[in-house]
């Protein structure tokens, strides 16, 4: 791990990396493993699916992940109702032996936009049942405030809809969230397409970035995972260092005193 990176607290875990990464869509399990390693991430997302025990796919995946050093963040991907999400979370807690849940309640099938009201209802119930809820939400300030009021210590607003790779389509909203929720752990989840998008999110002061497709569907996923690792670290260091104020007018960086061939205009 880069010595410039410092520890931070994500729920009950003290970790170093601020990049959370998904395990889906890789060309092969081998490339997935190499990409996860290259990302230097310590948190990986996983899911539950119907599987026939006669087939090996899930078992193979589990054998790769179960003895790894990663903290697992199960999701409720594909759930369209509060009931489905809660039941899936309960099943995930038993299978993965963690109370962490990336809560997804999809409200619209076209852009996979989270159902904000469903998220709040499900969050309340799951928190009451002892879960650490990581809600995948939109960047709506009021919804995010209500999720915090429901007991969420971590919010994961989208940068853009899942899998679009469009980056941060509403920086104003994300900047506002950071400003208005200074005590909440904020992680941009979804929509990240390029390392520069991740850097931007971190420069805004977000605590982390969660992505999957941008790495898994890169021409070279392992190299892209390395790129994102550096990008997240660079963005975080930039935030900690403090960005300069933007100006409308140019201002020379080279001292004007003693400028050669100077002449009065």
């Amino acid at each position: 791990m880069n010595p410039l990176s410092s520890n931070w607290q994500l729920a009950d875990k003290t970790i170093t990396s601020r990049l959370l990464i998904g395990t889906a869509l890789y060309p092969s399990p081998q490339i997935m493993q190499e990409a996860l390693a290259a990302s230097e991430s310590q948190i990986v997302t996983v899911s539950l699916r119907r599987q026939n025990p006669r087939e090996n796919s899930g078992e193979d995946f589990w054998s790769l992940i179960k003895n790894s050093q990663y903290h697992l963040l199960p999701n409720t991907a594909g759930c369209h109702s509060v009931k489905e999400a809660i039941t899936t979370a309960q099943m995930a807690r038993e299978v993965f032996d963690t109370n962490w849940i990336k809560l997804e309640v999809i409200g619209d099938q076209y852009n996979l936009q989270p159902d904000p009201l469903g998220l709040i209802e499900a969050s309340k119930e799951l928190i009451a049942q002892g879960f650490e809820v990581f809600p995948y939400c939109t960047d709506d300030l009021v919804i995010c405030e209500k999720l915090v009021a429901a007991g969420c210590r971590i919010l994961m607003p989208w940068g853009a809809p899942i899998g679009t790779g469009k980056g941060l389509i509403n920086p104003y909203a994300l900047r506002t969230l950071r400003h208005r929720l200074p005590e909440t752990t904020l992680i941009v989840d979804a929509g990240i397409g390029a390392p520069s998008h991740a850097s931007f999110a971190m420069e805004l002061g977000f605590d982390g970035v969660l992505l999957n497709t941008a790495v898994a569907e890169a021409c070279e996923p392992v190299k892209m995972a390395t790129a994102f690792s550096h990008a997240v670290q660079a963005g975080r260091l930039g935030f900690e260092a403090g960005l300069m104020q933007q100006r409308d007018m140019a201002q020379p960086s080279t001292p004007t005193l003693g400028t050669p061939f100077w002449h009065q205009t």
Binding site: G22, T23, A24, L25, Y26, M32, T45, V46, S47, L48, R49, R50, Q51, N52, P53, R54, E55, N56, S57, G58, E59, F61, W62, S63, I65, K66, P74, N75, A77, K83, E84, T87, T88, Q90, M91, A92, E94, V95, F96, I162, N212, T213
Partner: protein, 87 residues
Amino acid sequence: MIDITINGTAITTEHRQLCEFLDSYFMKSCLQSHKKESSPNENISDGNSEFKFAIAINDNFVPRSQYQTITLKNNDRIELLSPMQGG
């Protein structure tokens, strides 16, 4: 015999006890795949491989601790979910 569905597939079974049904369900896979031995209170394992799973019946989670006491009814819907890649 009762008619149930598991992961959306309709089947008929003589096993009304959930743990017996699971024994039967996994033993079937055993014959065709990994020679796993069924053990209702554990994830199915033969020592080298492990089929990790959780169950919901009629949309309600069933903790592993209840597998021995649940009796299946006609038209029950079982969801049997296992680890998979996710984003």
